[in-house]
């Protein structure tokens, strides 16, 4: 019998199931990759938020403070003993507390910064002297942790930093309605501090802002100008090739190297101030320039040559063709690149360590040359601190930083969508 040769359709049909199976497998693989990365992301955000959200609330104690004339020594308000006012008020609340050490333990419930708050109040309003007023004061970070449940009452007394006696006082105060958790304004209005309850991120935010302003003011014009020159004017020879290769290489240089460069050039050679946002901005400019130049060149390249020809064809000079037509069309891409570069700069820590922006700075910077720190460095500093209260502050600062980054990326997307033109 003659052997029957299978028709083409038979062969095709036979392989069909296998082909579809392969396709399905590939799809599943991609889907699982997406799910895995989403899970990592959720885990990351979840752990940060779970750790950090409590930092936005802060224990506050309400005390009846009598601004006693004698105690304050009215002629010298700056050096007056404000702590004494608090101690008097606490003693009135707990009349049975006696003895030096027990009184000291009681007074430890109130933050050591509370006296400074009273001083500020009196200095800004001397009319308070002689009156009695209900005043809201910060509590010590250990009390704060207890209120938030970060310190367990079940662990033996010797293993926690707050004693059973103190816990009893705290419970009494809570019952009396004098101690409660409130929105933590200090976190957004104060600079760094050794005391967790007095520390805030305003100093770091201002430092980041000044640094980024310097970076933006320098890197955007320089980056765009360099991109326009390289893309539109530069003759194509081995020099421009050399420059192009080097710009691409520069984008891959580890950022700490830029910090070393900043230390050597800006601080040691030019003698600019240490820890200043000005120098931080200069260093970050060096770091973001390659990103901006590469993004700007890509967006210039994507402008159709027909637009350039159209402009040249009606007699526009090269400059006019670029400024009137090419640049406006390339601008959304350039801005997107710049904002992404800025976001990179905002999250950068390493180069800033090299130029001294890692210092412990309490004051909120007010200018480009004031010593300051930036958000990621602040996070790094707090992560290094042993107090339990700094753990939640670390996470809270990360949340603030992430919010800034997401906002910046949102602005980038918005700008791209708004100014994108189709032809």
């Amino acid at each position: 019998m003659e052997k029957q040769t299978p028709s083409t359709m038979d062969i095709v049909n036979r392989g069909l199931a296998r082909r579809y199976r392969k396709e399905k497998q590939f799809k599943l693989l991609g889907l699982s990759a997406i799910i895995a990365s989403l899970m990592f992301l959720v885990f990351l955000f979840g752990s940060i938020v779970a750790n950090g959200w409590t930092a936005f609330r802060q224990g506050a104690i309400y005390l009846d403070i009598t601004f006693d004339e004698q105690a304050l020594q009215v002629e010298n308000l700056r050096n007056a003993n404000y702590g004494k006012l608090i101690k008097t008020s606490m003693a009135e609340l707990f009349p049975d507390v006696s003895g030096r050490s027990q009184t000291r333990r009681l007074n430890k419930l109130v933050s050591s910064g509370a006296a400074f708050e009273l001083q500020d109040m009196v200095l800004s309003d001397p009319g308070l002297i002689g009156t009695t007023k209900l005043v809201r004061l910060p509590v010590d970070d250990e009390v704060d942790m207890l209120l938030k449940g970060h310190i367990s009452r079940d662990v033996p007394e010797s293993e926690r930093r707050i004693s059973d006696e103190q816990i009893a006082w705290v419970d009494q105060l809570v019952e009396a309605g004098r101690l409660q958790l409130e929105f933590n304004t200090t976190f957004f209005t104060a600079g760094d501090s050794r005391e967790p309850e007095l520390s805030g991120i305003k100093g770091a935010i201002m430092g980041s802002m000044f640094t980024l302003l310097v970076t933006l003011a320098l890197s955007f014009p320089i980056g765009v100008a360099a991109a326009v020159y390289l893309e539109e004017f530069a003759p194509s020879n081995k020099w421009t090739d050399f420059i192009e290769v080097n710009i691409n290489n520069l984008a891959a240089v580890p950022s700490i190297v830029f910090g070393l460069l900043g230390l050597a050039v800006f601080l040691n050679f030019f003698g600019l101030p240490r820890s200043a946002p000005l120098v931080g901005g200069l260093v970050l400019t060096l770091m973001t320039l390659p990103t901006i130049i590469i993004a700007s060149r890509a967006s210039l390249k994507s402008v159709p040559p027909s637009i350039r020809e159209a402009a040249l064809g009606v007699g526009a000079s090269k400059m006019q063709a670029i400024t009137h037509h090419v640049l406006p069309l390339a601008m959304p891409g350039m801005m997107t690149g710049t904002i992404i570069g800025m976001a990179q700069a905002l999250g950068e820590t390493a180069p800033l360590l090299m130029i001294g922006m890692v210092a412990f700075i309490v004051d909120v910077p007010g200018s480009f040359t004031d010593p300051s720190t930036v958000l990621p460095v602040q996070i790094y500093l707090w992560a290094d601190s042993p107090e339990r209260a700094f753990v939640e502050r670390t996470s809270a600062a990360i949340m603030v930083l992430l919010t800034f980054l997401i906002c910046m990326n949102g602005v980038a997307v918005f700008l791209r969508k708004k100014f994108e033109r189709r032809w």
Binding site: P304, G315, A316
Partner: protein, 296 residues
């Protein structure tokens, strides 16, 4: 020079001065395919542009070989030829658009009204205002219709007032036959128009600068037949005021709108002559091969 001379001269055909339509009877013997000397009426008496011995190189590659041709005043000169024959390259030499290509070098002489446009002292900006250009693909700016047309006059400072500019825009759009369609929506984006309207907008944009010569690089290749017919009518009208050089792939189009036709073949200008004569009685074998559809 008459018919007999042409035949007597054998392979070295007319390269001297001739008048339009001097050859009207059928030539039996065509110029051999290997001979690339230009035949026909390259030169005219009232030339607007004169090109002599123009060579164009892209790097080491020669794209145009020794082309000499005149463009007469108020004529439509069509340039035809197979793809890659250099007709667009040559067209772009006429307003120095090739300057934008780094590796492109142009040798020879191209005169506009007696002045060499490749002279070192010549500025390309006023040159391009004198010699306007319309491109193959409609390329309006992504701006309003009004701004598209007003752009040229604005940058050249032709106008002093808004009313004057309004006048130029209206006038140019009318010349481009677009006014009736867009007069009520001048602030809408030019990119929102149909392909044919966009191309007429580009013509209006070129006309708005009041050029003397308009170069058109296959202006209808991206258009449908109806839009093509509109643009062709427009070219015929524009001829009254402007000198037009048009590159086209479409031989019927060349036949319909041009007075003279130049046939390019692989970088050589093979034949120039009155359009009627070229299409009925080509002198060169290559021209005949092309117009009878043997290649291209």
């Amino acid at each position: 020079m008459g018919m007999d001379t042409v035949l007597d001269m054998g392979d070295t055909f007319l390269t001297g001065k001739n008048t339009l339509g001097a050859i009207d009877s059928v030539v039996e013997e065509k110029v051999d395919r290997e001979d690339r000397t230009t035949v026909g009426t390259q030169f005219v008496d009232d030339a607007r542009m004169t090109c002599r011995d123009v060579n164009v190189f892209y790097g080491d590659k020669q794209a145009i070989r020794s082309v000499s041709i005149d463009v007469a005043n108020n004529e439509v000169l069509a340039m035809i030829g197979p793809s890659g024959c250099g007709k667009s390259t040559f067209l772009r030499c006429l307003n120095r658009m090739n300057d934008t290509v780094d590796i492109c070098r142009v040798k020879g002489e191209i005169l506009l009204d007696g002045h060499d446009i490749y002279d070192k002292s010549v500025d390309v900006v006023p040159l391009r205002a004198q010699v306007g250009m319309v491109f193959q693909k409609p390329n309006p700016f992504p701006k309003s219709i009004y701004d598209n047309v007003a752009y040229g006059p604005k940058i050249h400072g032709i106008v002093n007032s808004k009313t004057e500019l309004d006048g130029i825009v209206e006038d140019s759009l009318k010349k481009a036959g677009l006014w009736n369609e867009v007069s009520d929506r001048l602030d809408e984006p030019g990119t929102g128009l149909s392909g044919g309207q966009q191309q007429r907008l580009c013509i209006a944009r070129a006309v708005a600068v009041r050029p003397e010569v308009i170069l058109m690089d296959e202006p209808c290749s991206a258009l449908d037949p109806i839009a093509t017919a509109t643009v062709e009518d427009l070219i015929t009208e524009l001829k009254e005021q402007y000198t037009i050089v048009i590159v086209t792939h479409n031989m019927q189009q060349a036949a319909r709108i041009s007075q003279r036709t130049a046939y390019f073949h692989l970088g050589d200008l093979v034949e120039v002559g009155a359009t009627d004569r070229i299409f009925t009685n080509p002198l060169h074998q290559l021209t005949e091969d092309y117009i009878t559809g043997r290649f291209g």
